[in-house]
Amino acid sequence: MDKMPAWADAILVPLISLLLAAILSALVIIGIGEDPIAAVKLMVSGALGSTYGWGYTLYYATNFIFTGLAVAVAFHASLFNIGGEGQATLGGLGVAIICLALPWPHWSLALLAAIGFSALFGAMWALIPAYLQAKRGSHIVITTIMFNFIAAALLNYVLVNVMRPVGSMDPASARFSEAVHIPTLHELLAPIGIEFSKAAPANVSLLVALLACFLVWLLIWRTRLGYQIRAFGKSESAAKYAGINPVRITVIAMLISGGLAGLMAINNVMGEAERLVLNATEGAGFIGIAVALMGRNHPFGILLAAILFGFLYQGGAELALWTSIPRELIVVIQALVILFTGALDNMVRIPLEKLFVRFRRSSAGGSSR
């Protein structure tokens, strides 16, 4: 018998963890002499109080959906992909190359090409760590961390020495042409009569992200490949018995993971900046870890967690603008969420399990009499 019903495991535990993280965050805000309630109010109004705020919240959420899914797919194969940052960076490079290389007739074609290229570049950046893990047992956590730094150096080199337009002082690529501008939510919703902030960067990538959620759900729970990924993730020895090739699954899972992380670039590079800048990912690869942990590696959970983090991000930016609370508060909250939903999971789980076992015993004892 399980110690705890499934719903408690899937909902109660993360909820309590989140609550603990929230309480500590509030204490931190009080600690720096600010009013947590006012801060939350400001965050809510800034992030959700206008279509402008929503536009940014959803823009960030789109990034986090991609990186969260990336982390989750790898997690299902029992691989901890900390390399989302690097893979998303490379995805950006892919998008920039394809957007600048060809004269695109229409944004939709460019978007398709960008989806392909960003996923391809992200996947390729995950390939070497995956291969080394599968074939040579090199710990993927360490190799992906290393690849994040290597990606940063590579982007740095490319932007400074290769892609920087002549005469520009910025280490950034040229601006993409108007033709590859993908519709923002404003442009998408205007025809159907919905007024959405023109300034907000949320764009059609959001729909791609939602589609990705659905596809990942199908992949993991409905397809043979997903079945094999999960089986391999749960028990490598059993996977071997079943004839599931560990090298193949490791590589494929990481390619999908890297591809998803890379896909983020259609949002931040193509949808927002419309050029490639240094550090375009802004840590979204790492936030994917928190998002996946909180979303319990399920696409639906990830969607919710991504929106929550989108809210935190936009709300945090607002805080930084209108109060003296630095933006780093969000980093702290992110850390607390990772800590409680990830590392200190058992701190919540064990007492809860005991509670359930005791509750069940007493109710069983009662009924038998």
Binding site: M169, A273, E274
Partner: protein
């Protein structure tokens, strides 16, 4: 309510951004009004910050540094009623931006002279921030000034990096200073934003002289900073805030004549600047203003007659 966007080094970089902060603070104190501000954390934030301020009705919106040029070019046209002040940008053709540049080469020329005059080893150093034409522009004026004061002077120059991180890397500034000291430099000019803090610190630790930049940095290590090359960003910001919504747009380049650049002389470096040095530099200043001396501009020539970067 006006707003300022500080660049990556942050408003306490003791240099470029801090100058803007000082100007804004002076305005706020004098008028009793307030301004909004944000310190950028990453490249990707530039456009959002700009848009957010414009969106919320801030006017004017002040941006610091050349890297804001690109976001400005895409955001400013969306808010035609908002006035922008772009410091260190002079090449955009959007009507609602006041673009302010500085004749850094002229100011650098003066501190270059002082460096050469103060040097005992006959070698002076230059630590630049990010390796871009703007910083070479500084270095070029500095080299010309040093050579003018002492034709035999040896100049050693290093750039901190190729990305904006170069504005905020005191460790590297410190290491480069040590390297220049080992090459004989005994006066080092840091035109490197927050990185300069490391340069000035090391220079003070190692007992040589340094030259600050943008803000008056003489007080950082009193008696050990020869002078500072002032770039009156504070004045530009102060004036813009004072003008408010009536800000006059267009391109402005401030030089010695407008007191847009200069060198700092105060109680911290009185003892270091002899009357002879002061006389020589002041004369050169007047000559530049009068057009008798023409300081070559790296911007215009894309090369420097005095130093090969």
């Amino acid at each position: 309510e006006p707003a300022i966007i500080f660049d990556l080094g942050g408003k306490f970089d003791k240099s470029f951004n801090e100058a803007a902060f000082a100007g804004a603070t002076r305005w706020a104190e004098e008028t009793g009004e307030s301004f909004r501000e944000i310190e950028l954390q990453s490249e990707a934030q530039r456009e959002q910050a700009l848009r957010r301020f414009a969106e919320s009705g801030a006017n004017p919106v002040i941006t610091m540094g050349f890297a804001m040029a690109d976001p400005l070019s895409s955001v400013a046209p969306d808010y035609p009623d908002t006035k922008f002040l772009a410091v260190d940008v002079t090449w955009l053709d959007t009507p609602n931006i006041r673009q302010v540049g500085f004749a850094e080469h002229e100011g650098s020329y003066l501190v270059g002279m002082l460096a050469a005059l103060a040097s005992e080893t006959g070698t002076v150093g230059f630590v630049g921030g990010m390796d871009i034409p703007l910083i070479r522009h500084f270095g070029c004026g500095y080299a010309q000034g040093a050579l003018a004061a002492d034709p035999d002077v040896k100049i050693v120059a290093n750039m901190t990096g190729t990305t904006p991180a170069a504005w905020n890397d005191p460790v590297k500034g410190s290491e480069l200073t040590k390297a220049q000291i080992s090459q004989g430099a005994d006066v080092v000019f840091a035109a490197a934003g927050g990185t300069g803090v490391g340069v000035l610190q090391t220079a003070a630790d190692e007992g040589i002289l340094s030259i600050g930049v943008d803000s008056n940095q003489n007080h950082l290590h009193s008696g050990k900073v020869l002078t500072s090359m002032l770039k009156r960003v504070d004045v530009a910001v102060y004036d813009a805030l004072k003008a408010g919504e009536n800000l006059e747009t267009g391109v402005f380049v401030l030089g010695l004549a407008d007191d847009g650049v200069g060198y700092a002389l105060d109680e911290h470096n009185e003892a270091l600047i002899t009357p002879e040095m002061k006389a020589a530099v002041d004369e050169a200043r007047q000559q530049i203003i009068d057009g008798e001396i023409s300081v070559a501009s790296y911007y215009e020539n894309d090369s420097c007659p005095a130093y090969n970067f």
